[in-house]
């Protein structure tokens, strides 16, 4: 849809309040979902909880193909379908819920820059490790990705996805990197985040923003997902303030149901 049509639709949707039956779709949690998708989905869930917007999480085997942009997760609100964190933040803003209203222009610029840092470094590293590292791809990614399908479709889809991701890595210049360099990049990214966070509870002091949700989504998923090697989690653990940051957000926003 053109930008004008987008704006028109978002104006119409802005008039409606957030419904009770908003749903978030992601691939099957137990057998299918991969690290990068799980991280993105958790980031969106954290963001919506921080805004205080209720959402149900539904797992579907074909969630990736249902999504209008082909990326996980996407939310179905009323009769609108929105995918990925950036557009979802804009969508909730149009409905009057926003976490970054209190920031001034320079802070907002910093927030967006750091979000792009996470996307550029962490998410790309996750994709690289999942699909370009042969050991992980063979043992974890391909079997999980093709889990709901029967042979020979499972093989075709898994290899097709691997080929697509490798093409993308080559286009952005990550094709020539080896695993060590990728881990180094992740370390540098985590150090940068750690420096920025310092001893504050959230990145912009008192209030969480979408940057906190995004960082939490990725770090928490990496820390709690078992891969062929624990190297990635180790690199994050060397920054203790990030660990306590994750724990804090988990306790504040995700454990209210268990009590």
């Amino acid at each position: 849809m053109s930008l004008a049509a987008d704006a028109f639709v978002s104006q119409i949707s802005a008039a409606e309040p957030w419904p009770e039956n908003a749903t978030l779709y992601q691939p099957l949690k137990e057998d299918q979902i991969l690290l990068s998708d799980c991280a993105s989905s958790l980031a969106v869930q954290a963001y919506l909880r921080m805004c205080g917007l209720p959402v149900q999480v539904v797992c579907r085997a074909n969630a990736e193909y249902m999504s209008p942009s082909g990326k996980i997760p996407f939310i179905h609100v009323g009769n609108q379908v929105v995918s990925e964190l950036g557009p979802i933040v804009q969508f909730t803003k149009a409905k009057g819920h926003s976490l970054s209203d209190g920031l001034d222009d320079v802070q907002r610029a910093e927030m967006k820059a750091y979000m792009e840092l996470v996307n550029n470094m962490l998410l790309t590293a996750e994709l690289y490790i999942q699909w370009c590292d042969d050991a992980t791809a063979t043992e974890i990614s391909r079997p999980r990705y093709s889990n709901p399908y029967s042979w020979p479709l499972s093989n075709i889809l898994a290899y097709q996805k691997q080929w697509e991701v490798r093409r993308k890595m080559n286009a952005i210049g990550w094709g020539g990197k080896n695993l060590e360099q990728v881990y180094e990049d992740v370390s540098q990214c985590c150090q940068a985040l750690s420096q920025r966070l310092g001893t504050q509870p959230y990145f912009f002091n008192k209030q969480p923003t979408e940057l906190d949700a995004l960082v939490f989504g990725h770090l928490f998923t990496i820390l709690t997902t078992r891969l062929t090697s624990a190297e990635l989690a180790e690199r994050i653990k060397s920054n203790s303030n990030l660990l306590s940051f994750c724990r804090r957000i988990e306790q504040t926003y995700f454990e209210d149901k268990s009590s």
Partner: protein
């Protein structure tokens, strides 16, 4: 350090030392940090098709990619970032990521995919700088690479058509330019009074857009409205790339440099240690926290004034 360094890059035009973004980044950084590079343009050679540009050749080793070249130069003690705090270093990484994700696709589109610009400006320029018969191949090869990069990173499957993403990448790019403008404010450079690697990156991305005579570009007209960014580019060109004025001496580099770096690192490590101790103290059961608020960061206080 004494080995001569040669940079293979695309040639210059429109008042810029190079029209190619990545080459421009490396040239700008080299000038900021005082590294003596001989720029050997690959124009009119067969390297236009075969070489990865930019490429830094120093003795036996060859390095490609702007970020790796900058790392290499830093290791050779040509460091324009030594005055930055760790926090500012983190900001640099973040802003560079912002440039690559939000601004680069629109720049690639403006120069290589937009039909009017490509036919009237980009293709003639690159064709005129390539030897026969490569002048037929080189521009279309580069255009194909640019298009596939845009589609692979921004294209939304399954409708991989360029028209679907055009609106989005341009609005992202305009927002990115606005954010850079807010961050720059009224300063000359992004951090303090001397340019750093972030300035090199921003210059490399923004200057071609500012200086090229594009027949049709809404992005360029948007940039022209952001005065501080255009002044930023003009300022760097005047101070560092003008043939009439000699370059200002780079900030004092000598052996003091290494010591300063070591000190800064030590200070940072200390502050991390202190943080850790602090955390441990707070979480230990005997010492209940008196104040619920997080204390101001010791690290930021200390590292702002390198001893």
């Amino acid at each position: 350090m004494a080995a001569a360094m040669e940079l293979r890059c695309w040639g210059g035009d429109w008042g810029l030392p190079s029209v190619h973004t990545d080459s421009l980044i490396v040239l700008a950084y080299a000038t900021f940090s005082g590294a003596k590079l001989t720029a050997s343009p690959i124009d009119w050679t067969w390297k236009t098709l075969t070489a990865t540009v930019p490429e830094l050749v120093c003795g036996d080793s060859a390095v490609t990619e702007p970020s790796q070249i900058l790392n290499f130069l830093r290791k050779q003690r040509f460091n324009a970032d030594y005055e930055l705090t760790a926090r500012q270093g983190a900001d640099t990484m973040a802003y560079i990521a912002l440039l690559e994700e939000k601004l680069l696709p629109a720049l690639l589109h403006t120069f290589w995919v937009d039909a009017e610009n490509y036919a009237n400006l980009t293709r003639p320029w690159f064709a005129s700088r390539s030897p026969f018969p490569l002048n037929f191949l080189v521009p279309s090869c580069l255009a194909k690479i640019a298009l596939s990069r845009i589609l692979l990173t921004k294209g939304e499957s399954p409708l991989h058509r360029i028209t679907e993403v055009e609106g989005k990448i341009y609005s992202d790019a305009k927002e990115c330019l606005n954010l850079l403008s807010y961050r720059l404010g009224t300063e000359n450079y992004f951090f303090g009074n001397s340019p750093t690697s972030l300035d090199a990156f921003v210059f490399g991305f923004v200057a071609p857009l500012h200086k090229a005579s594009l027949p049709s570009s809404p992005l360029q007209s948007h940039l022209r409205q952001l005065d501080n960014l255009t002044c930023f580019c003009d300022n760097i060109l005047a101070v560092y790339f003008s043939s009439s004025h000699p370059c200002p001496p780079p900030p004092v580099q000598e052996t003091m440099d290494a010591n300063l770096q070591k000190l800064t690192q030590l200070v940072n490590k200390e502050s991390n240690l202190i943080e850790k101790m602090d955390d441990n103290l707070r979480s230990s059961p005997q010492h209940k926290p008196h104040r619920p608020d997080p204390k101001p960061s010791l690290a930021s206080e200390k590292s702002s004034t390198p001893a």
